[in-house]
């Protein structure tokens, strides 16, 4: 093919395609230089910048994800710790409350018992005092009444104190004895 072309080229006035025309060389060189600068100064730097940004972004995202992961793990750990602490505290409070309740209960019980005993003792003392005073007043009043009565009945004044007292005492002893027997 090449031969036939060259022959065809040499046959007529046609020109040889292997001999460059000056305008062809000039415009080729101009085009090449323009495109070279275009790629060198504009396209490839833009591309490089974008690729750098992209890899930086990918690395940044991986970094961010790592940080988030670590934060999440730390938060989980903290939460777990707090939960455990809260549980322990709750258990402690519950235990304390139970102990307190027991203590308060027994205290109240003891207090109540003491109060009751004291009230009972006071009542007994009061009763005893009442009884004593009643007994004393009864003894003197009943004695004089009985003597008055007896004086009236027997018509004789039991002026002799000694005798009178002895008589009243005997009478009261009898009364007490019969009273005791009646109670029983």
């Amino acid at each position: 093919m090449l031969q036939s072309i060259v022959i065809a080229a040499t046959e007529g006035e046609s020109r040889n395609p292997l001999l460059p025309e000056s305008y062809d060389i000039i415009w080729s060189a101009v085009c090449f230089v323009v495109i070279l600068f275009f790629f060198w100064r504009l396209v490839l730097p833009r591309m490089k910048k974008m690729l750098d940004e992209r890899s930086a972004a990918i690395e940044g995202n991986i970094e961010k994800a790592d940080v988030a992961q670590r934060e999440a793990e730390a938060a989980l750990e903290q939460y777990t710790a707090q939960l455990a602490e809260a549980r322990a505290e709750a258990a402690k409070i519950r235990e304390q409350a139970r102990v307190d309740a027991q203590r308060i209960g027994s205290e109240i019980q003891a207090q109540a018992q003491t109060d009751a005993e004291r009230t009972k003792a006071n009542a007994q003392v009061a009763i005893e005092a009442e009884r004593q005073s009643a007994l004393v007043s009864l003894r003197s009043e009943v004695g004089s009444l009985a003597i008055d009565l007896a004086s009236g009945v027997v018509g004789e004044s039991l002026s002799d104190d000694q005798k009178a007292t002895a008589l009243v005492d005997r009478f009261l002893a009898d009364l007490e004895a019969s009273d005791t027997a009646g109670k029983k």
Partner: protein, 263 residues
């Protein structure tokens, strides 16, 4: 383009590649149809990559993804793969430029109304080959000052007597043939591809509209040539991409060989 009105069939000729001047005729800045097509291809590069990288987002849209894919192809699969990260970055602008200039200029060969690759005239392949040639020499001299030409022309480990044979061979293959093969491989692929397509489609034109006046059966030949033209158009897409890849890859390989410690 290749058919004329006189009724006979005219195959494509080499004049296809030397159209009439449109601007600045006769000056070194002459602009013809093919040069305009070259400008359009370069304009397409500038527009696509300018818009594609204007507001780059970290999460790319559809268009940015395509642009990124193209740039990643030269960066990862060619530059960094062969030269490593550090040297790959140094020569990335050059390799990217070579790849996309060749690719876009090649693709105009199958775009309707342009239908010719501006790499089918020798200027651009030659300029790119010279750039590749200068690039690998620059890389070698910068890396091994003083030792680059010695290592290239007098490979270590070869008996001294053999240098009589080895040195001329090394000189021709490294410093002469590399730019020539780079130029011719691209030029001829595009030139022949264009001639083939013109041949198929002008033959189709001839069979359908001229030969059918003689016999309707010639139309069947036209169907055949049209099918071939269609298949070869698809093939040209493959060739366009492949030649761009090969040119960028070889440029990178030459730089890699110049940077290597041992030749």
């Amino acid at each position: 383009m290749a058919t004329s009105d006189d009724g006979g069939f005219h195959g494509p000729s080499i004049d296809e590649f030397f159209p009439d001047a449109i601007f600045f005729a006769g000056t070194p800045f002459e602009i013809n149809r093919i040069i305009l097509i070259r400008f359009i291809a370069m304009l397409a590069i500038v527009l696509i990559f300018w818009i594609g990288t204007r507001r780059m987002r970290m999460v790319p849209g559809r268009f940015q993804s395509v642009v990124e894919m193209g740039l990643d192809f030269t960066r990862v699969n060619i530059a960094e793969d062969l030269l490593g990260k550090k040297d790959g970055r140094r020569f990335l602008p050059l390799i990217t430029t070579v790849f996309f200039v060749v690719l876009f200029a090649n693709l105009t060969g199958i775009i309707p109304f342009m239908n010719i690759s501006s790499n089918a005239i020798i200027g651009m392949p030659l300029v790119l080959a010279v750039v590749a040639w200068l690039a690998f020499m620059y890389a070698g001299i910068k890396k091994h000052p003083g030792a680059f030409f010695k290592n290239a022309l007098f490979p270590p480990g070869v008996p001294k007597a053999l240098y009589i044979i080895v040195t001329p061979i090394e000189f021709v293959s490294t410093f002469v043939l590399r730019p020539i093969t780079l130029t011719l491989r691209l030029l001829m692929n595009m030139l022949v591809g264009h001639l083939l397509l013109v041949l198929f489609f002008s033959a189709t034109q001839f069979f359908f509209f001229t030969a059918t006046q003689t016999s309707i059966f010639y139309g069947l030949f036209g169907v055949g040539t049209l099918a071939f033209g269609f298949v070869f158009t698809l093939f040209e897409v493959l060739v366009a991409v492949l030649q761009a890849y090969v040119f960028a890859l070889l440029t990178t390989v030459y730089i890699q060989l110049a940077l290597a410690d041992e030749h």
